[in-house]
């Protein structure tokens, strides 16, 4: 049973374009939604996160959009750069469970 569904599995974008990765969840008890970025040979690292009482959070070129009623959230990368090429994981956290549930990941390739 996949608790967080992520799409697409892979994404190719031209430099300067917008990268969009989508996630959906079912468990309404989730109360924290982070995105992790993983470069080859490295462990994932926190990129940006949002709580469900906020509809959007922006940090530099990275924006999370959150739709609580639809139980969906997405990561937008504006002006995508080759250095953004990595695997991105959405995740969800349920307070009290102490566990992060991850999506299956999206491999982003930004062509120069």
């Amino acid at each position: 049973q996949q608790q967080v569904k992520q799409s697409p599995q892979s994404l190719i974008v031209q430099k300067g374009g917008i990268s969009i990765i989508n996630c959906a969840y079912e468990n309404t008890a989730f109360d924290y939604f982070p995105w992790y970025q993983q470069f080859p040979g490295k462990g994932p690292a926190l990129l940006i996160a949002i709580r469900p009482d906020v509809s959007e959070k922006k940090e530099g070129r990275f924006t999370i959009s959150f739709n609580k009623s639809a139980k969906q959230f997405s990561l937008h990368i504006m002006d995508s750069q080759p250095g953004d090429s990595a695997t991105y994981f959405c995740a969800a956290f349920q307070g009290g469970s102490e566990k992060l549930v991850f999506g299956k990941g999206t491999k982003l390739t930004v062509n120069p």
């Binding site: 109360d31 566990k99 999506g103």
Partner: protein, 113 residues
């Protein structure tokens, strides 16, 4: 700089061997986790520990056990390695908070032959 250190980057073991993967964190975190990463399957939680000597099963605990004798160290044990346990193993640690950030090690690529 916070750090989660996994003892090996690459391991090759034979089927049936007992395998120990070690993880140490220097952030005094309460929570520690072991994940397995496979292409197309993402990160799947094997076990986690919320205190010394405390552990809880994750989503795929079969074939694995863990040990946490000290707060900073969390070990993953493959009692009898099998080829289907060939994978990337990631250790992580975090504080017990709703907005917790999980800090990951660089991973151990285990190949069972």
């Amino acid at each position: 700089d916070v750090k989660v250190t996994q003892s090996s980057r690459y391991l090759v073991k034979r089927t049936g061997e007992k395998v120990f993967l070690e993880c140490v964190q220097d952030m005094d975190h309460e929570n520690m986790f072991w994940y397995r990463q496979d292409p197309g399957l993402g990160l799947r939680l094997i076990y986690f520990s919320y205190d010394v000597k405390m552990k809880e099963k994750g989503d795929i605990p079969e074939g694995y056990s863990v040990s946490r004798e000290k707060k900073e160290r969390f070990s993953l044990i493959l009692e009898s390695a099998s080829t289907n346990q060939t994978s990337m193993y990631l250790c992580a640690s975090s504080e017990p908070s709703w907005n917790t950030e999980a800090f990951f090690g660089q991973g151990t690529r285990l190949t069972v032959v």
